[in-house]
Amino acid sequence: MSRYLLRRLLIAIPSLLGISVVLFTVLALAPGDPFEELATNPNVPAEVRANLRVKFGLDDPVAVRYVRWFSAMMQGDWGFSFASRIDVDTLILQRLPVTLFVIGSSQLLALLIALPVGVYAATRPYSLFDQIANTLAFIGFSLPTFFTGILFILFFSIYLDWLPFVYRADISATGWRWYWEHLRQAIMPIAVLGLFQGASWTRYVRSAVLDVIRLDYVTTARAKGLGERVVVVKHVVRNALIPVVTLVALQMPAIFGGAIVTEQIFRVPGIGSLLISAILANDTPVIMAVTFVFSCLVILCNLLADMLYGWLDPRISYR
């Protein structure tokens, strides 16, 4: 297992390098100077600007700039936010926990929906339950997250007035009340993301279970007298989850995209809304850093998926 993990880690490095090259190429190809803020500021005299360019090495060859940028990124030296006037890494560290909390709980919710519904629908294919689940899943992943968010706000915040629609980081209450308030404001963002993911995963789980449930070993398990419940839970689901893990790992970039939108709708103070406000404020160091963090998160999730394979499918570890 540990050797398998190490090999996976080594495979992740080229992808990280590749992503960083793509990111830097985009930045280098961009017309004008991304660090224009200093250049267009009328208070900065021309010779100071030239000195700054030399100091930051903005006129060096592209390869040199790339190596310097990448090594700075890896060392955690992510620059200085033009808009907030603090270091980018502190800014991101402040925002990251909220994003991870929202994404993590929504994925959990999606899993809690998709697994039981998908498995139950697949064990009774073309039944009424299956058809209803299938239709709801289709509707669920055809509803864009931004529209679900707005519908939720309309219904739960404006019409029923149950839930707050602005996420506040500074809740003054203490003790149980503090947790309660946090939970209340997190319900809608988590539900929007979780329902969307849950809808598409339900279809994956259903088709994966349908593929496995007809195999001979399942018949064998039934023939030796195991209860249907044990057959499904212990024999079918574990094997059916292998392709599901692949599809979920492939969807990770889309999940982060959905998280950005959700954070923007509900004003969740995470890195997604930080990205949007940085773009509106032309804050290049923050934009680059957040994009880089999202790339690292995607790679991390792929690694997690690989570890899950190792656990779900013992054949893999020996390869």
């Binding site: 590749g18 985009v26 055809s142 707005i150």
Partner: protein, 288 residues
């Protein structure tokens, strides 16, 4: 193949309904502006934030602009972006997949590595980054509308070709070993001819399905960008942009947000169902 596919497609009732709804939407946005001649930017403050009425069937926004004509105009852009981005994704994906599928060894490995790399890129942040960096210069080059359109279409299409490439490569890997391809090669057909005449037409089934779904995904992507305020400029009312403008008036004018959202949802749902129907219709193994 056409008649048979259509016969099988018709059996999927929801796909047929989807095709019908999409046809209605497409006809409405194509010919609607010719019939409903209220300008999209006629400001009328006394009539702002109104609900349904005879003068404004879908109500008005905060400047008193007619929502029906804005929706019809925006639908043109949304559908055009979806189709154009899908074309780019399909063409690039087919080219990459075909190239990887017929060349063995290092070219195949390199192309697949690039495909996997693109699959693990965080797409929305990169979309936003590219649009942020290139928007202004393209605007100056070809004007705001065309510039943003080209940029958005290229960027969305450029991030959606990977599944197509994988599908085409997989099809090529199995098809190139088939007897009819071997027969063509034995008769002296060049590689180019075997690919163009024999392998490619036979591998298009899954590509058509993926392309259909891509239209929906591209429409969502464009609406997302506009909804974040980073897509088309404010004077071009795409569906996502109308939703973005409406989201601050949810309590006084909910219809303003619900109408464009419902339009996006209906379009995407119909396209997804059409894709589902095509998948069944084009899969010869599926028993109807």
């Amino acid at each position: 193949m056409g008649a048979e596919t259509w016969r099988r497609f018709r059996r999927h009732k929801l796909a047929l309904a989807g095709a019908l709804i999409l046809a209605v939407i497409a006809l409405a946005v194509l010919f609607g502006p010719l019939l409903w001649r209220v300008p999209i930017n006629e400001i009328d403050f006394p009539a702002k934030l109104q609900g349904t009425s005879w003068r404004h069937p879908l109500g008005t926004d905060d400047l008193g602009q007619d929502l029906l004509s804005r929706m019809l105009y925006g639908g043109r852009i949304s559908l055009a972006v979806g189709l154009a981005a899908m074309l780019i994704a399909v063409v690039v994906g087919t080219a990459m997949g075909a190239l990887a599928g017929i060349s063995r060894g290092s070219v195949d490995a390199a192309l697949m590595w690039i495909t996997d790399l693109f699959l693990s890129l965080p797409q929305l942040p990169l979309l936003l980054l590219i649009i942020y960096l290139f928007r202004d210069s393209l605007k100056m080059l070809v004007g705001p509308e065309v510039g943003v359109f080209i940029l958005i279409v290229i960027v969305i299409g450029g991030f959606r070709w990977m599944p197509v490439a994988r599908l085409v490569r997989a099809q090529f890997l199995s098809l190139r070993e088939k007897e009819f391809v071997e027969a063509a090669r034995a008769l002296g057909a060049t590689t180019w001819r075997t690919v163009w005449r024999h392998i490619l037409p036979n591998s298009l089934g899954p590509v058509i399905v993926a392309g259909t779904i891509d239209v929906a995904a591209a429409i969502i992507a464009e609406s997302t960008l506009s909804f974040l305020g980073l897509g088309f400029p404010p004077d071009i009312p795409t569906w996502g942009r109308i939703l973005f403008d409406a989201k601050d008036y949810l309590d006084v004018a909910p219809h303003w947000a619900v109408i464009p959202g419902a339009a996006i949802f209906l379009t995407v749902l119909s396209i997804n169902y059409i894709g589902d129907g095509l998948r069944d219709a084009l899969d010869p193994r599926k028993v109807m």
